[in-house]
């Protein structure tokens, strides 16, 4: 059928069409404000971050320790009520060097997001955070890193209470 049709619908516009005033458009923005109940699992996670601790939870059935903590194990479908303080160090599971911000601006120094498998949690259980105090060229999967915290009085109970993770050994 694609062989038979000569012209497919769809008219392409360029940015120039807008700046030249050829296209009428309407601009609107949503004032969407949400206040999400954190509940027991994440609420405990945030409270622990404020205290300078990364919290996980333990499933007595499959015996995994997971992070962030939750009140039920999604694989066993059983309640988890044992919250376990973990170390604030870990291993880089994966990372990227990002030269574009979330709103598509170019930056010279890359942001370094990473998934960090947290010490004390089961293997392959980690959190996403940033890496800092490291030369981007030297980041490697498998690197050992440690959290750099905001000073206690500045912590709010947020994932940003950890500023970033930095390498444990000098590189």
């Amino acid at each position: 059928m694609t062989a038979k049709i000569k012209e497919f619908p769809g008219i392409s516009l360029s940015e120039q069409d807008f700046t030249d005033g050829k296209i009428l458009f309407n601009f609107d923005k949503l004032n969407g404000i949400y206040a999400w109940d954190t509940g027991v699992g994440i609420g405990s996670y945030l409270a622990s971050l404020k205290a300078g601790v990364i919290l996980g939870s333990h499933c007595p059935n499959c015996r995994k320790i997971v992070v962030p903590p939750r009140t039920f194990c999604e694989f066993c479908y059983r309640p988890m009520d044992e919250f376990v303080p973990l170390n604030d160090s870990g291993t880089v599971n994966t990372f990227s060097l990002c030269y574009v911000t979330w709103d598509v601006k170019r930056i010279k120094q890359p942001e370094i997001p990473a998934v960090i498998d947290i010490d004390g949690a089961s293997p392959l259980h980690g959190i996403m955070h940033m890496l800092g105090e490291i030369d981007p060229k030297k980041v490697k999967i498998g690197m050992r890193v440690k959290a750099v915290w905001k000073p206690a009085e500045e912590r709010q109970g947020s994932i940003n209470d950890i500023l970033y993770f930095k390498p444990i050994k000098e590189v």
């Binding site: 949503l30 969407g32 949400y34 206040a35 999400w36 109940d37 039920f72 999604e74 694989f75």
Partner: protein
């Protein structure tokens, strides 16, 4: 055979104006645990597919379906989301089982309306961005327009609409799940502030938080799991025009068409005769009257009179919204239809406690997706 499908388990939590003690995941987990316990199934082992109903902007998260599987036991299982009302979700689970590929399917819907701090603005964001939103009107205006035209064409009155509020909120006093039970007078209802004339504030269902999960099973499984399976006799759903500029304002055409589809499946020619109890949309009081007519329970213009005369009260000809409806239980966003179906299931099982209606064998649940939509669904259940 997979022709016949039954509801074998129900669970819920709520319904309250706010639920700060748990996150949506924890809230849904509670409801799901209750449903699975009621059904006697282990979701990890027995439930083969899961359907959830949700809308991104009600959660404040894009691609919200990402966050649906864990709390219902669906992690790494066939799970999908329908952006629809709970009755759309039940219809989906029904279709899945009838394909013959799945025996047990769960459906989930919830509301955390309390977490949406700018809900009127979010709701207005569903209006047409070019033609309607620039008018900067609170979406209740659409209900006001519709109510006005409905009253005009059917010769119904504001008093008749108020009678719906009085009945439903009084019914809610017998429902321990309902947060908005009240014993109101006509004066109470009509003296409330006008929101979008002729719609007054006391005719609008206030939101509530909560979650509902149901477990559906094919006939063979249903008979072994439950001694009170509630059979789905028919489902129907339909859309009218989304545009305000060309829709039928007085009639709920989508309810008529959805009902036609469901009645055909259930073999029902005379709804008033066949159906013992109904739970219909009353997120705005006039919608109950409009729905009763669209469902064919009475002729156009009669629903108001019947309601005023008490015909839809619990002890009368056709009990409607014995649960309290949304006016009594709260507007639960996508979970409204599930709340309507929940009451029918409880009534048909004889588990409605102080609200139990005698001799109910066939019930109907109907829902609408709210302004500015013209989307609704109907479900017919029997014990």
């Amino acid at each position: 055979m997979h022709d016949r499908v039954a509801i074998v388990g129900v669970g819920c939590i709520g319904f309250r104006p706010s639920t700060p003690e748990h996150s949506y995941k924890e809230m849904v987990y509670e409801a799901a645990m209750r449903a699975y316990t009621d059904a006697g199934v282990d979701p990890r082992r027995d439930v083969e597919s899961f359907v959830t109903v949700a809308e991104d902007f009600h959660e404040g998260t894009s691609i919200f379906d990402e966050y649906t599987p864990d709390q219902i036991g669906g992690a790494l299982k066939p799970v999908h989301t329908i952006t629809g009302d709970g009755l759309h979700g039940i219809a989906t689970a029904y279709m899945l089982i009838r394909t013959g590929q799945f025996d047990i399917v769960a459906i989930e819907g919830h509301s955390k309306a309390s977490n949406i701090k700018t809900l009127p603005e979010v709701t207005a964001y569903a209006q047409d961005p070019i033609l309607n939103r620039p008018l900067k009107l609170n979406s209740h205006f659409i209900a006001g327009l519709e109510m006005n035209r409905y009253l005009f064409e059917t010769d119904s009155t504001r008093e008749q609409c108020a009678a719906v509020v009085i009945k439903n909120r009084f019914n809610a006093l017998s429902n321990s799940l309902a947060p908005y039970g009240a014993n109101l007078t006509l004066e109470d209802v009509l003296s409330g502030p006008v929101i979008s004339w002729p719609l007054g504030s006391r005719e609008i269902a206030v939101h509530a938080d909560g979650a509902i999960v149901m477990v559906l099973a094919s006939e063979e499984k249903a008979l072994s799991l439950s001694d009170k399976p509630i059979w789905i006799l028919g489902t129907g759903w339909n859309n009218d025009s989304p545009a305000l500029e060309n829709r039928d304002w007085a009639h709920s055409k989508y309810t008529e068409e959805a009902a036609r589809m469901a009645y055909r499946q259930a073999g029902i020619n005379n709804p008033l005769e066949a159906i013992d109890i109904a739970e219909v949309d009353d997120t705005y009081a006039y919608k109950e009257l409009q729905a009763l007519e669209a469902l064919g329970f009475c002729r156009e213009g009669e629903a108001g009179t019947l309601t005023l005369e008490g015909f839809t009260s619990p002890d009368s000809g056709l009990p409607v919204n014995v649960s309290g409806g949304s006016l009594g239980m709260g507007n639960l966003l996508e979970a409204n239809g599930l709340a309507r179906a929940l009451e029918i299931v409880l009534q048909l099982r004889g588990e409605a406690g102080p609200r139990q209606i005698e001799n109910v064998n066939l019930g109907l649940a109907q829902s609408w997706r709210g302004v500015p939509t013209t989307s609704g669904a109907v479900l017919i259940l029997a014990n």
